[in-house]
């Protein structure tokens, strides 16, 4: 669901094909019939943005059909935990959970907590406001829970305030009929999916869920994934071979750039960025970023080792290991927040590395207007992409809105090396790192990111050398001493990997994060990656073929944490440590040896902690995790059916309509996610939704996506002849029914209009797009691949011009997957007439600039 795996991850899809050959059933639930659907046993089309309703229906089905994996749920999840009686579910409040503060558009989360706990997150925060991101991240790692044990439990899971009963009641209205009404799929098709999933789960069998940006790019993106987590926990499909939830990332190494982040709000290994007021010292940071129990209980060794990796000898006990050198964040500095600040003149310069926001970001025009406010812009890419050319060539130039001579931004273009021209790592969906070696030197002036950032850092250090200004100390004290290799003086990527992996005081390599110390005697650039250079060997460069080892393939690459291939794999054994079944044997307790053993994967659990281990009352860290609790990243070691902290929009997923929708929400009076992040400003108008005046001006649902033949915003494919020719033109995919309704001709042209922009595309009329009957009328879909732009061998309008900024406030990802639009035959007007057309639509819809 939410994934077009065959098209976007064709290499990984070979394993799905192989599984299918071995008898696995492949089900594809997706608005469109794609190349993935073509390979599936069953394709069920749903309306974009209704995944929570579909998954909630499966939860309902599990309860109705007694398909729950009872023992797994009781022992491994927070199903038996009693939640505070003050908690109110959405049904009691027309779509709001308890704690809603309309003035702040945010939830106070005291009532979501475990009964008997203080009701505060670790940061002492009572309100989950994601735009104070340093603090919001705390909740993601769980709350303080003395001794690691929820205060009140009902092992029978019958108490009306226990999590399992809350989950059951919450989804009681998600009946097959409701699923059909919301999603538009046939009730029978939904039931087939639910039955197939339940039948294929339990002691003997497991099922896996695959998702991609079809789930994340929504105003309820995180809750889509939460809903899948609930399904998989109820069915006992986590931590077991063949199970899991697989997030296929948008392109190569997005996972790696999350783990060692290019994100603004976390440090390597998901350590939150410090907050300026809350975290004056290392001690307060560690104290407020707990929890004390579980793997996160060792935050101090992780952060101290990170500080030692960055500032080396300068980081001492006396100066808080240079904790004061870390940047602080006090607000939302995510992509769109930054671009809006740029638009308002609040950003002077930008490095744009491996990103093409004028094609890849929603509301492309707003992106370009923002870029024009910069003093300087550096674009590093293979080709001068649209973002590098915005000053010279854009729809605004065509429409006469903008003149090149009026744009003051100084633009620098730096050619980048391709992955074949540099050493480094790719991290894939199951946290597996695979080293790639440089095959050839980069041509001309092209250089790797490592080269660029190293020499940029060097130049800055030279500029501030000898400075006595304290603000320059963090730069001057950095360990910036990588060996240089090759004809271009390239910093040695393996030396960086060694720093990431971690070293003891004597310079020897560490085995795992268990070796990290909080006293400054170890250094480690990313605690979750500790041990990737174990024994002085680049473990991620291991390449023993699968034919020479068992199917776990431990000798291929390296997975974080601790080279564990299936995370939480203690859950593959029952509470007593025995395999759930012979067929699904993976990790089990060897009572004779007194340790966990496995088919070859390292047990993701303390090696000698017996299944019946019970912690002392005041235990902390991993000592506080019981022998039958596999989910060690949580303070209670349990999988969370109900999330008491960490989310801004509720402890349970609820179906909300997208920001723009031609339909009402049959479940709740509150139509959309109340915590979604919206920006009401003239450059970013929203359409009226169903029932509001003017909604019928934009009667159709538009969704955006990619094609196998192109890569994201096209910089790596529209510029390559062999790829460009495979999908040379921007097209829209529509059903025959919509073609008739709007007079659109296959192979002809259509103009797609929103209050943001009008774009033109070639028309593809196809049975692969099916109108769905929703609330008594047809929901028509306009499908748009988003790869095109104004630069390259093949050019065209960009689909993302059409979309508004409407974000999931947990993670600030925009709703690329659904908005409303109109579609009409023929090419779009040229010049100022294009603006006039959009303006006419705005007037008719009552959308005022």
């Amino acid at each position: 669901m939410g994934s077009n795996m065959a098209e976007q991850h064709p290499v990984g899809f070979q394993w799905v094909v192989e599984a299918k050959e071995r008898g696995a059933k492949v089900i594809h639930v997706d608005p469109r019939f794609t190349r993935t659907s073509a390979m599936a046993d069953l394709h069920v089309p749903i309306r974009p943005g209704t995944d929570v309703a579909f998954l909630g229906g499966i939860v309902h089905y599990i309860f109705e059909h007694d398909a729950l994996f009872e023992e797994y749920v009781r022992r491994f999840t927070n199903g038996p935990v009693i939640i505070k009686p003050e908690f109110r579910d959405t049904d009691d409040a027309s779509g709001f959970f308890s704690g809603w503060n309309p003035d702040h558009s945010a939830y106070a989360i005291e009532t979501w907590g475990y009964a008997g706990t203080s009701g505060e997150t670790t940061a002492g925060k009572s309100e989950q406001q994601a735009d104070v991101s340093g603090e919001a991240a705390h909740g993601a790692h769980g709350m303080q829970l003395p001794g690691g044990e929820p205060p009140h439990l009902d092992e029978s899971m019958q108490d009306e305030h226990c999590v399992l009963q809350l989950v059951r009641r919450h989804f009681s209205r998600y009946t097959p009929e409701l699923v059909s009404e919301v999603c538009g799929c046939a009730r029978e098709d939904f039931l087939r999916v639910a039955a197939a999933l339940c039948d294929n789960s339990g002691r003997e069998r497991t099922s896996a869920v695959v998702y991609s940006v079809g789930w994340t790019q929504h105003t309820i993106g995180v809750q889509n994934i939460r809903a899948a987590s609930i399904v998989q926990l109820l069915l006992g499909n986590i931590g077991r071979p063949g199970g899991g939830i697989l997030a296929l990332r948008g392109h190569a190494n997005i996972q790696g750039s999350t783990d060692i982040p290019t994100l603004y709000d976390i440090l390597p290994g998901y350590i939150p960025m410090p907050h300026p007021q809350s975290h004056p010292t290392l001690d307060t940071f560690v104290e407020l970023n707990g929890p004390d129990t579980g793997v996160w209980g060792d935050l101090r060794p992780y952060i101290v080792s990170l500080l030692k990796a960055w500032w080396g000898g300068a980081a001492t006990e006396d100066n808080d290991f240079c904790f004061g050198y870390l940047p602080r964040i006090n607000g939302d500095h995510s992509h769109y927040a930054m671009m809006l600040k740029m638009l308002d003149g609040g950003v002077k310069g930008m490095f744009c590395v491996g990103q093409n926001p004028t094609v890849g970001s929603a509301n492309s025009k707003l992106m370009r207007l923002a870029l024009a406010k910069l003093d300087w812009l550096v674009v590093r890419d293979f080709q001068p992409i649209e973002t590098a050319m915005f000053w010279k060539d854009s729809p605004e130039h065509e429409a006469g809105e903008v003149r090149t001579e009026d744009i003051q931004t100084e633009v620098f273009f730096l050619p980048a090396a391709a992955h074949t021209e540099k050493d480094g790592n790719f991290t894939n969906t199951q946290r597996l790192l695979q080293w790639h070696h440089k095959a050839v030197e980069p041509p001309g002036d092209s250089r790797s990111e490592l080269h660029w950032i190293y020499y940029l850092g060097k130049a800055i250090r030279e500029k501030v050398a000898g400075s006595t200004d304290p603000k320059d100390r963090p730069i001057l004290d950095l360990t910036w001493d990588y060996p240089l290799v090759g004809q271009h003086g390239e910093p040695d990527a393996e030396a960086v990997l060694q720093e990431i992996s971690g070293k003891a005081a004597d310079g020897s390599f560490l085995d795992s994060y268990d070796d990290l110390k909080g006293d400054g005697s170890t250094s480690c650039g990313s605690w979750i990656h500790c041990g990737i250079y174990k024994d002085g060997v680049n473990q991620s460069a291991r390449r023993r073929p699968h034919t020479e080892q068992n199917w776990i393939a431990r000798q291929w690459g390296w997975a974080w944490p601790k080279d564990v291939r299936i995370i939480y794999n203690r859950a593959s054994a029952d509470a007593d440590g025995n395999p759930w079944s012979e067929r699904k044997r993976y990790v089990w307790w060897d009572a004779g040896e007194g340790k966990w053993t496995s088919l070859g994967d390292p047990p993701d659990f303390p090696a000698t902690k017996a299944p019946d281990y019970e912690p002392p009352e005041d235990a902390t860290k991993m000592e506080a995790i019981r022998g039958d609790k596999p989910f060690t990243l949580h303070p209670d070691g349990r999988g969370w059916l109900f999330a008491p902290t960490g989310l801004v929009d509720g402890p349970l997923p609820a179906h909300y309509e997208p920001q723009e929708s031609p339909f009402t929400n049959p479940l709740y009076a509150q139509r959309q996610n109340p915590t979604r992040q919206v920006f009401h400003r003239p450059e970013n108008p929203y359409h009226p939704s169903d029932g509001e005046p003017g909604a019928d001006v934009f009667p159709f649902v538009v969704t955006t996506y990619r094609l196998t033949e192109h890569h994201t915003a096209g910089g790596m494919s529209r510029t390559v002849p062999y790829l460009a020719e495979l999908q040379p033109e921007f097209f829209c995919e529509i059903s025959p029914q919509l073609a008739v309704q709007r007079g659109l001709e296959h192979g002809g042209w259509a103009t797609i209009v929103t209050a943001r922009q009008a774009v033109e595309a070639r028309v593809v009329v196809t049975d692969r797009i099916k109108p769905l009957k929703i609330q008594g009328r047809f929901a028509h879909l306009v499908g748009l691949p988003y790869h095109w732009g104004g630069v390259g061998i093949v050019k065209g309008d960009s689909a993302n011009e059409l979309l508004p900024l409407a974000l999931d406030n947990n993670v600030h990802i925009s709703e690329y997957k659904v908005a409303t639009c109109d579609i009409r035959p023929g090419r779009r007007p040229r010049g100022p007439a294009r603006l006039a057309l959009v303006e006419e639509y705005r007037m008719r819809a009552g959308v005022h600039q």
Partner: protein, 297 residues
């Protein structure tokens, strides 16, 4: 199964290698076109921009001098009875398709999207090779059919000789180009670029005899799983081209994929044709003679 051709292995003696070929199992093709791109990259085939075709996701159109692998996309509504002879739009106007289910074909009815990667067939009876006057086209020690670019004089005889329309002259150079089954890679014990790049093993490379066995098993498996129209194409020594070095497993009739249902070696009837021509010449000669003689009378 004989697999022998007129010149392989006999003309190679001890230098003959096993006959190598492709088994393209279209049932696992995901239409990624990696084969098309890998082929062009390895063989330095020029790009061949054809523009937007509107023919499903196929913008390559056909095999040709600059396209040695081609992935066909067929959007198929099953059962087709409702739509016979009508376009999708016409069907809707007739109100017949509104409630048509969109389900995968495997589940019974509805809709399916077939994808198949096509290539030169490297026929057992390769007419192209036989009609080539310069010897540019030859049978390699692997039993494959290759054009030697430094010998081809661009006469074009092979073009109409191919029953599949594979052979094609490159506009700007006049010579004929086609799949070599990566002859250069084979010589270095490497598999062809397309097979190497195929993520789902839809394109399988190997000894033809072994591929044929594998294909029989695969066909039996699919038929057992309810794919009633699954069939092997060009895997039969008795077909019109004597079987091919590149054969296919299709999920429907060959013509659905744009492949000739009953291809024949275009020289098959040459004997009869020459005999008829001879007879005609004789008859003409006799007539002329009669006329001459008659005229003298």
């Amino acid at each position: 199964m004989t697999l022998e051709t007129t010149s392989w292995p006999s003309s190679y003696g001890e230098a003959a290698k096993p006959r190598m070929g492709f088994f393209t199992d279209t049932s696992v093709c995901i239409g990624c076109k990696a084969c098309e791109v890998a082929c062009k990259e390895w063989n330095q085939v020029p790009d061949s921009m054809q523009g937007f075709t509107g023919n499903s996701y196929d913008n390559t159109i056909d095999l040709g001098a600059d396209t040695w692998r081609h992935v066909a996309f067929i959007e198929q509504r099953v059962p087709a009875g409702v739509l016979d002879g009508a376009s999708l739009v016409e069907a809707v106007q007739r109100g017949e398709a509104v409630d048509g289910g969109v389900q995968t074909y495997q589940e019974g009815d509805g809709f399916r999207w077939l994808m198949a990667s096509d290539v030169c067939k490297h026929c057992t009876h390769a007419a192209c090779l036989e009609v080539c006057p310069t010897g540019a086209l030859f049978r390699t020690e692997f039993g494959t059919v290759v054009v030697q670019e430094d010998v081809c004089n661009g006469c074009g005889y092979c073009v109409p000789a191919c029953p599949f329309g594979v052979l094609d002259k490159r506009e700007d150079d006049g010579r004929v180009w086609k799949c070599t089954l990566c002859y250069d890679r084979l010589k270095d014990d490497m598999e062809p670029a397309c097979a190497k790049a195929c993520p789902t093993n839809s394109i399988q490379f190997g000894e033809l005899s072994e591929l044929r066995e594998r294909a029989e098993h695969r066909l039996a498996h699919l038929q057992g799983a309810g794919q009633q129209h699954a069939q092997l194409y060009l895997a039969d020594d008795d077909d019109g081209v004597g079987g091919a070095g590149a054969f296919f497993l299709l999920l429907d009739k060959p013509e659905v994929y744009g492949l000739p249902p009953d291809p024949v070696d275009t020289r098959r009837d040459l004997g009869t044709i020459w005999a008829a021509t001879g007879a005609a010449a004789l008859a003409l000669g006799a007539g002329l003679a009669a006329a001459v003689w008659g005229g003298e009378r």
